[in-house]
């Protein structure tokens, strides 16, 4: 059971990574002068849309968590609307946090907001897919010893690594290398992306490595 779970996890993660890599290369066939650094905002939009889409499709196909008991249409619709609201709220929260961290308040609003959207896609969207709009479950997953399945464990790892990536991405900004990517928020978005990809890679391996020690409480 567990090994098959890990295998499925690995495949889904590889698909996510593929979606990010494709979002870098595919648009250059359709758009003039597309490059990550110069048309950064376009890339951010494409990347977040593709990652969201892949996450949704995978959620629908793989169905990692046991389906909820009630599956009426109205319930599904409210759930979806709730998810959207949560996603927007997380975008705004991230935006506020970036500003509190020192991002300019008035200039570069679009850039900052798109960074918030991207970080939300890397962190909030998988949470919403897996846990649903359920704050208590989120808190459980992100507290110590709170995970109950392979999926939640990988979710924990990818989310934390995206955050850490974005955090570390801020460090090159004050350096005087004068590179085009040392500009807010490019280094941070790149850091978040690298962190997310690294998390996607590491989490199946780490879970596989520690599969003997990991015992999940089944609820």
């Amino acid at each position: 059971m567990k090994d098959t779970d890990i295998k499925r996890l690995l495949y889904t993660h590889l698909l996510c990574i593929c979606s990010i890599i494709l979002s870098i290369f595919i648009p250059s066939f359709f758009l003039e002068n597309f490059s990550i650094l110069e048309t950064h905002l376009t890339w951010l939009c494409i990347c977040s849309v593709s990652v969201t889409a892949v996450n949704l499709v995978l959620y629908l196909v793989v169905k990692p968590n046991a389906s909820s008991k009630r599956s009426s249409l109205s319930f599904k619709v409210t759930r979806f609307v709730k998810c959207c609201v949560y996603f927007l709220m997380s975008c705004f929260t991230f935006h506020v946090i970036f500003v509190l961290y020192g991002a300019p308040l008035i200039e570069l609003v679009l850039e900052t907001f798109l960074f918030a959207v991207t970080l939300s896609t890397f962190t909030t969207v998988p949470c919403l897919c897996l846990l649903g709009p359920n704050i208590k479950a989120w808190l459980r997953v992100f507290s110590r010893n709170g995970v109950t399945s392979v999926w939640e464990n990988s979710l924990q790892i990818t989310t934390i690594s995206s955050f850490v990536g974005a955090w570390l991405g801020a460090f090159p900004i004050p350096l005087d290398w004068e590179r085009p990517w040392q500009v807010w928020p490019i280094s941070c978005t790149l850091g978040a992306t690298f962190g997310y990809v690294a998390g996607l890679f590491i989490s199946p391996l780490w879970i596989y490595w520690n599969r003997k020690q990991l015992t999940y409480k089944n609820n």
């Binding site: 946090i97 500003v99 509190l100 961290y101 020192g102 308040l105 208590k136 808190l139 459980r140 507290s143 110590r144 010893n145 709170g146 955090w167 801020a170 900004i173 004050p174 350096l175 005087d176």
Partner: protein, 939 residues
């Protein structure tokens, strides 16, 4: 020998300071000096070299210029004259530069780019050391050989108007002077009018030889509003007018005399993009240097581009121009274009004089001067020069004479350049030996401190210092012998001078004894720790120190900050690191709070139980650190469910909101003062507030800030100091109104600006009163053992005294920094540290982080240019050294000092709270004792 940990810490600090001083002595090079500089009697000038036939020209050549006017404009950057601003605002000067009889240069100033060292460099030609920055506030008389002293000795009449630094540097040198002070930075019109008003009279009179004008206005504008301010243009036009006036007066006077006169326009240092100066960026070190004289006539079409020269070159040129001996310590070389128009014999004579002076300096400072390329070039050119003189006296063919002369001249110029370069390089040489010894001492003390921390923080707060054992150990003698041998080898073989070698043998031996004794102490402490560590690890595996995320962040953050200092950009932008770390700390605290507060966490009881088990295991080992750490762990383990569950509704919400409030405060402060290098020019709230249009807003803000300060600080003061505090804060506002920073509502136009001496002293009385009552309470608690409450009150009074002093010294636009610092401290203490029961180490490190961040919130940076020296003059009529230095230092380090004193008072109040309320704990002693050394060391 047993020592209290306070005494031990004090000893360590003393030795540490010694090590640092030794290191700094090696790091900051000793200036190049001529050994005969003490005696001022004039040596006979070097005679003209001659081969065979004797030359009759042994006296100094006569002066080239009858009158010299030096116009020094403070902070004149090269592009203000040669760039687009010069073309726009200084039309007359631009005409002189492009078409007139002038030579223009870009003179490079050596850091530190502060006024006094720069004046010294201009007048002595030597390179002053960094130590002169400290002396910049109080310039003592210049004793070194310099142009002004030489000119006075030669009977020239010198007049100086402008910056009073000149009068202090050269007392009794000027027949007439009017000093303007440079410390009222906000004044940039009157300070220059005080110089210009003398001009007409003096220029008409003409009974002087040297006139020095030092204009400060431009520097003041730079400090207040930066180099792109519209005020700069107006000031430059004013300066252009002054130059035109002087130049026309000189020209009209020249017709009556035989010799031409010289007008020198120079800047002492440049101006950075923020308007400050002091460091070594290109904007700060490039200054214009313009020599104007009718002797420099040029044909039309002769385009002269400004050449890059050193600022020190001016001294030699001036000395030659006035017919004086070149200052002995000058490392500069003659600006050749200035003497280009003279006959060949005179040119060569001037060059020879300069080369001889430089060679003499080289001989006295470099032991192996014979190997220097400059010295060899000097010998060759002197021989050639002799040949030329012989040919000249024999009156040979002028063609041959001219060709040979050109060759000699080129040879001399090369020699001058090489000599000047190698002398300047001498200044920048480190004394590596002293630096290594200093570093070793510092590192040894640091290791000793680290190793003895567990012992010093234990219940007894005492530690065994192995003093006797090193004296009898073999290791001590061996190291001492080896070090002495190394010392002898280094001192006998080294080429450059070395501070330790110049000390007497006894002192050097003392240093060696210190180093080896420290080494032995470190080794013995290390073995002790290792032995104890082994015992402990055998004993039990109870020390399951699971690190929380917060601990990890604190450790990694502090470590990461230290590592980041390896990159120079991170040093320039250190404030960014601290802001980033503090924001992250707030988010981590937020995470901590929410996890502990919000329900649905079923692992908490387990944790608590778990740690309780650890505590049981630890109880037997009562004597040392285990106790304290176990108690702390117990506190931490049980904190969450119990403490937050019992909070009332309002407090609960405050706990949840406080990290966000703190984050918002930090963000606001961040936009108050832009510092650093890359983004320093960005507009910020501070500049908006200080501009004269927004005086009303600033007044409201200042009044509001003072009111909030009172509200926050009074809650734990005794009634008497409450009243003192209120009166003191009122006095602060009155002081600011008196010196014209803020307005009273009833006083709309500020006509009478005073120095505010009376108001400031009124506040000082209350500061001293509050500090005195605080000290009294502290002493009482120590002597009578009145318990923690008295001590806590005393510490709080001390803290509030510091707050009042800071409110007085900080500029009014920085008062929000003080307010928000108090607010954050209150919030943190009440809603974060107390409910979550962070342990002493965590609280201490958080205080340190916030203290550092507040240092930068005040607008400071790692650049010396951002130090606000005006704080040193609050309430003082004249410059008094000790109080001025103390006040400036306090105003600069307000943030760290306030956080440190808050830490002490907070820890003491926590300790008293725990003794008072929490007696059910088995042994709070360990906890309290664990904290008290910290108090002792700090108080």
């Amino acid at each position: 020998m047993r020592l209290g940990s306070g005494t031990f810490a004090a000893c360590c600090v003393v030795v540490e300071v010694l090590g640092v001083v030794l290191f700094l002595r090696g790091f900051f090079p000793a200036p190049v000096r001529s050994s005969s500089s003490s005696k001022h009697q004039a040596e006979p000038p070097a005679p003209e070299p001659s081969a065979g036939a004797s030359s009759n020209w042994t006296k100094l050549p006569p002066p080239l210029f009858s009158k010299v006017v030096i116009v020094l404009i403070d902070a004149l950057r090269d592009d203000f004259v040669f760039g687009s601003k010069g073309v726009k605002f200084m039309p007359y000067t631009t005409y002189l530069v492009e078409k007139g009889a002038s030579h223009s240069f870009v003179a490079e100033a050596k850091p530190p780019t502060v006024t006094m060292p720069r004046i010294k460099a201009l007048m002595t030609g030597s390179v002053p050391g960094f130590i002169d920055v400290v002396m910049n506030l109080n310039s003592p008389a210049l004793l070194e050989d310099n142009v002004i002293t030489q000119a006075k000795a030669a009977g020239k009449r010198i007049i100086s108007y402008g910056d009073e630094t000149w009068v202090k540097l050269f007392p009794k040198h000027f027949v007439e002077y009017d000093g303007t002070t440079s410390f009222f930075v906000s004044d940039y019109t009157e300070v220059d009018e005080n110089v210009t008003r003398h001009l007409d009279k003096v220029l008409k009179r003409g009974d002087w030889d040297v006139l020095i004008l030092h204009y400060l206005g431009l520097d003041h504008i730079g400090h207040v509003s930066g180099p792109s301010s519209p005020l700069i243009g107006r000031k430059l036009s004013e300066m252009d007018g002054v130059l035109m006036k002087i130049h026309t007066a000189l020209l009209s006077e020249e017709r009556e005399t035989l010799l031409p006169s010289l007008l020198v326009l120079c800047g002492d240092h440049g101006m950075s993009e923020t308007g400050g100066h002091g460091a070594s960026s290109t904007e700060e070190v490039s200054t214009p240097l313009l020599l104007v004289s009718s002797a420099f006539e040029r044909k039309p079409g002769d385009i002269r581009y400004p050449k890059h020269v050193q600022q020190t070159d001016l001294a030699a040129t001036l000395a030659i121009g006035l017919g004086l001996p070149i200052p002995k310590n000058s490392v500069g070389h003659l600006l050749f274009p200035a003497i280009e128009g003279k006959p060949m014999r005179e040119q060569l004579r001037f060059l020879h004089l300069n080369t001889v002076q430089l060679t003499k300096l080289l001989q006295e400072n470099v032991p192996s001067f014979e190997k220097e390329p400059g010295f060899e070039q000097f010998k060759i050119s002197e021989r050639l020069h002799g040949n030329w003189i012989r040919l000249y006296l024999e009156e040979n063919n002028s063609e041959v004479l001219f060709n040979l002369g050109t060759k000699v001249r080129r040879q001399y110029l090369d020699a001058l350049k090489t000599l000047s370069l190698s002398l300047s390089r001498q200044v920048a040489q480190y004394d590596v030996y002293s630096m290594v010894v200093g570093t070793v001492v510092v590192l040894e003390v640091l290791t000793l401190l680290l190793l003895s921390i567990p012992q010093a923080l234990s219940s007894k707060a005492e530690l065994e210092v192995p003093l006797l054992s090193p004296v009898f150990s073999l290791l001590f003698y061996l190291t001492f012998l080896v070090l002495s041998a190394v010392h002898v080898i280094v001192c006998t073989s080294t080429e450059s001078s070395c501070y330790l070698c110049s000390l007497s043998w006894l002192t050097a031996g003392g240093v060696m004894v210190l180093v080896s004794a420290l080494l032995c102490a470190v080794v013995s402490a290390l073995t002790k720790v290792l032995v104890r560590g082994k015992l402990l690890s055998k004993n039990a595996a109870h020390s399951n120190s699971r690190w929380s995320e917060l601990d990890l962040l604190i450790l990694l953050g502090t470590l990461g900050h230290v590592l980041s200092l390896g990159a120079s950009s991170f040093i320039e932008e250190e404030h960014q690191t601290w802001y980033f770390l503090v924001s992250t700390l707030c988010l981590a605290l937020c995470h901590d709070i929410y996890r502990n507060y919000l329900p649905g966490d079923d692992c908490e009881p387990q944790r608590c139980l778990h740690v309780e088990g650890g505590f049981d295991g630890a109880t037997p080992a009562l004597q040392d650190k285990n106790t304290s750490s176990a108690v702390l762990e117990l506190n931490r383990g049980c904190k969450s469910p119990s403490s937050l569950g019992t909070l009332r509704g309002y407090e609960k919400w405050m706990v949840l909101a406080s990290p966000w409030v703190i984050l918002t405060c930090c963000r606001l402060l961040r936009s108050l003062n832009q510092t650093g290098v890359q983004w320093a020019h960005r507009p910020d709230l501070g500049h908006w507030l200080t501009s004269s249009d927004h005086k009303a807003a600033l007044s409201v803000l200042a009044a509001l800030s003072l009111a909030v300060i009172f509200a926050l600080i009074q809650r734990r003061c005794s009634p008497a100091s409450k009243v003192a505090m209120a009166l003191g804060l009122l006095g602060v506002y009155c002081y600011r109104a008196a010196i014209g920073n803020v307005l009273f509502p009833w006083q709309q136009d500020n006509k009478d600006i005073s120095k505010g001496i009376l108001e400031a002293r009124f506040v000082y009385v209350f500061v001293l009163g509050i500090l005195f009552t605080g000290t009294k309470d502290l002493l009482k608690s120590q002597v009578v053992a009145a318990g923690f409450t008295v001590k806590t009150v005393g510490l709080w009074e001390l803290y509030s005294g510091f707050v009042l002093l800071a409110a007085l010294l900080l500029r009014p636009h920085n008062l929000p920094v003080l307010v928000l610092s108090l607010l954050i401290q209150t919030l943190m203490a009440k809603f974060v540290w107390k409910p979550l029961r962070h342990d002493v180490a965590e609280v201490t490190v958080m205080h340190y982080w916030f203290g550092q961040a507040f240092f930068y919130f005040q607008g400071n940076s790692n650049n010396i240019a951002t130090v606000d020296i005006s704080a040193g003059f609050v309430g003082l009529d004249t410059y008094v050294e000790i109080p001025a230095i103390f006040l400036t230092a306090f105003a600069t380090y307000t943030g760290p000092v306030l956080w440190a004193s808050h830490l002490v008072s907070f820890l003491s109040s926590e300790a008293s709270r725990i003794t008072a309320g929490d007696r059910s704990l088995d042994s709070p002693e360990g906890l309290l004792e664990g904290r008290s050394p910290c108090h002792r060391a700090l108080s």
